[in-house]
Amino acid sequence: MSDHEHEMIDRRLEDAIAAGCEQSRLLLTRRAMLGVSTGLFSWACLPRHAEAFDGDRRLLIVSLIGGMDGLHVAYPLQERNTLRGYRASMLAGRGGYLERYRALGRSGFVINSNLEKFAAMFGRGEAALVHAVAPPLQTRSHFDCMDNLQNGQPGFGNPTRDGWLNRFLSRLAENQPARRGLSATGSPLILQGEAPVQSWSGSELTGLAGFADALLPAYRQSGLPLFSGNHGVARQLELGLATHSLATTSESGQSAGDSSLTRSFRGTARLMKAATGPRIAVLSVDGLDTHDGQVGRLDAKLAELDNGLDAFRTELGSDIWARTVVVCVTEFGRTARSNVIGTDHGTGTVALLLGGNVNGGRVIADWPGIATLNDDRDLTATIDIRSLFKGILSEHLGLWKYDTLMNTVIFPDSHAIRPMEGITRLPKPNRLRLRNNRLT
């Protein structure tokens, strides 16, 4: 990107902040006091002209870190006996555990009863499951597979360290609202890259009033690239301050008794529903690595996630929910057989898809069965997660499914991976078209 372009973005950004996201309110991660960890929240903001963004769609990607056990979340009723056999040791003393799962419509699948609110959304046709899905790299390594989920590469050997969602954002034309995002290069990987992205942790701590502003000229004049460069401290601080001020000038609306994760979801929704707020967000949730104590830990985590997702829906309001897609993804599934009390790293797993724009009430799967296991170990992945992501970009956000950017830039070397179809309910937004190497 040229320096000139940076200039342009900077100025618009300032305008956007001045005129923009004031209604936004965020109260996010509270690692601060209690050590509860829900991960970093980041978003690409659409400060102004959000109305012009075709269809005014919202996308939230929830990144479940640690490898969520898809078979613990949902399985076909017909395979209950097989699963019970695989997990006899883990379910010992929990008589009837698998019987307490709820039916998902007439899909033949049943779902963990801790995902009660999700199941209700499924019943209303605004949530779907994608099962037996995995990223293309299937090494059962947390770090490799989570990187792969976020970098959009076909496998090993990604020379660039950026995320596929950022590559999409960075190709949007400057008059596309998503392109005028707030800036950062912070975690998570999926949002790292050339396009400016904002981050926010929801801490309400403040120091001396105006003190941080006084540091800005010092950084700008330092002459050190680390301080004054395009991605330097000055630029990051400036954007962090702007966001904080947006967040604190807006009304507070947290509900007593919310868990920290629910606060994160609620705060995210509050910002995303603002007419001029962000449209695309990523929220990370950790604690899914259940080698040990799986039943108790995962059940509690699913209940927490369920509450968080429901809070997100409620906070967003029905009008905006109707234009929203939320997708919860994880780096891999886990072994079909339990290791006494938990499960080890596996392959195929489940993705949760919800939102008013989801053509729901369905389980989307090419079910491989669990009588025969991948490597005699875990659920075979029959859906490449890139096809789900491509389907969302195409049907929800308007990137033409045959666009070369889709197959070469956002998801390199992925011509063979066809976008999933029929994911959404609303008519597709107008197709983004390439002009001067940017999508408009």
């Binding site: 006091m33 800036s183 680390l226 301080f227 990051q236």
Partner: protein, 476 residues
């Protein structure tokens, strides 16, 4: 006067630049007067680092004595046992945890440059553990750092690795106490390969061979039975070995197994020690560790030529960490590397040293579902997402700028700086005169930001915080 130690990439650095790089890149930040002293001759900065590494007292200096619990100083003899016992008791585990963390933070304040202390932190992060995993794990992470990491930080990596894997902290954190020949749990074995030895596959795509799921299963089988003792003397009384490492022959699978084509068939626990020794000496392990060290001390993306040189030293010396550390220090490219952002923990430590603290903590009681003593210091670092023992995943805190240089993190730094200066009042420290302190810490530097709008204590805090936010204190 001896000839210049630097003849290559770092030869053009002035003595004062060298002094600043020594204390910020290789050290924990200056104490008053140090930079002036290290600037007096071209070699002074390098020599100060070298001396910390090679002094006859170096290995002893980095050790931390066992904590005091309930008014009683633990001894090396009962240290492990008492820490493990605490794992059965929430209140005691909180006391132990607080003591361990507090002593660790205070230890950072002692050395002149702090290079060995930095290495200890590096290796602690290499074996990063999360204190919320379980009460027993929380109780012994401190013991692990004192007796595994610090014990071997200038010794042998194979020895450090074997001690690490045979410690209840890692066995507990990565679930190996659950792993038996009838129900293998792969968690620890996988991370031994991915993190502690060969390295995750994606980081090194050009390798000719790599480990597979079969190798992971083999290694997991080799360390079956490496567990934790839960022996009781009665229904209420712990056996003296309760909570400590225990090899259970009955859970161990005696099958001979291969890892990367190498057979391990020795009986019992010896099988695992042989595998760990072999893995620790592997050249891929050397490559992984060389890359991580260079990433910590020099570069987001370490140049292949430097990785290769450091790996060679590692492999050639059988993983001798003193020799590896000496080579790292001698790499002029690392001295001359571009400035990167100082991660929050290192930044906060530098600030405490600059302010002349001899103690960082003032205990405060908080409730967080479990009873425990929390410290302001740890709390502030938690707010910056960089608290000790706070990383959930076993890969440790990242060592690249992208992880720390983003809007929210940059907004929080000034806030935390002011908060920490405010906290220091509660610890009984008088705030020094900002101008005097600046000239003692960073001779020749000037105030960058205008904070004249503040008055009284606020003015002093703003001027002090400004030193730590607009200078080399933000760099490494």
């Amino acid at each position: 006067m001896s000839s210049d130690r630097f003849t290559g990439a770092a030869a053009g650095l002035t003595p004062q630049q060298r002094a600043r790089i020594a204390v910020f890149r290789f050290g924990l930040g200056p104490k008053p007067g140090l930079i002036a002293r290290l600037s007096r001759s071209p070699n002074a900065a390098f020599d100060a680092c070298w001396a910390e590494l090679t002094a006859s007292t170096a290995k002893a200096n980095v050790l931390i004595p066992p904590p005091r619990v309930n008014g009683r100083q633990l001894t090396p003899d009962d240290d492990m046992q008492r820490c493990c016992f605490a794992g059965g008791n929430d209140i005691n585990s909180g006391t132990i945890r607080y003591q361990e963390l507090s002593r660790r933070y205070c230890k950072h304040l002692e050395p002149e440059v702090g290079l060995v202390e930095r290495l200890a932190l590096f290796w602690a992060n290499h074996f990063s553990m999360h204190e919320e995993k379980s009460v027993p794990v929380r109780s012994v992470i401190g013991h692990f750092e004192r007796t595994v990491v610090r014990q071997h930080v200038l010794g042998s990596y194979p020895e450090m690795l074997k001690a690490a894997v045979a410690h209840p902290a890692l066995i507990g954190y990565l679930d190996n106490f659950r792993s038996t020949k009838n129900a293998i749990n792969e968690n620890l074995a996988r991370e031994i390969l991915e993190l502690y030895t060969l390295g995750t596959q994606r980081r090194f795509p050009n390798r000719s061979i790599d480990y597979t799921q079969e190798d992971i299963k083999s290694l997991a089988g080799i360390i079956t039975g490496w567990g934790i003792s839960y022996r009781m003397l009665s229904r209420t009384a712990h056996h003296p070995e309760y909570g400590s490492f225990r090899f259970r022959q009955s859970d161990h699978d005696e099958v001979t197994r291969k890892v990367l084509g190498q057979s391990f068939g020795a009986p019992g626990q010896a099988k695992g020690f042989a595998a760990l020794q072999w893995l620790a000496e592997h050249s891929y392990t050397g490559q992984n560790i060389a890359t991580k060290l260079l990433r910590h001390f020099g570069f987001d993306n370490p140049p292949e030529s430097l990785v290769s040189r450091l790996r060679h030293i590692y492999v050639h010396t059988g993983g001798n960490l003193l020799e590896v550390s000496k080579s790292l220090l001698r790499m002029e490219e690392v001295w001359a590397a571009p400035l990167r952002l100082r991660p929050p923990h290192l930044w906060a430590v530098a600030m405490a040293r600059g302010l002349g603290f001899t103690n960082v903590d003032f205990p405060d009681t908080m409730t967080s579902g479990i009873h425990r003593i929390e410290s302001h210091w740890q709390m502030r670092l938690r707010q910056l997402n960089n608290a000790a023992w706070g990383r959930v995943t076993p890969d440790g805190y990242p060592d690249i700028d992208a992880a720390w240089l983003h809007p929210d993190a940059m907004r929080m730094r000034p806030v935390i700086a002011i908060q920490m200066l405010h906290d220091s009042k509660w610890r009984g420290y008088a705030l020094p005169n900002p101008d005097t302190l600046r000239s003692q810490l960073l001779p020749g530097s000037v105030r960058m930001a205008n904070v004249s709008r503040y008055t009284g204590d606020s003015r002093v805090r703003a001027e002090l915080a400004e030193i730590f936010l607009t200078s080399e204190y933000m760099t490494r």
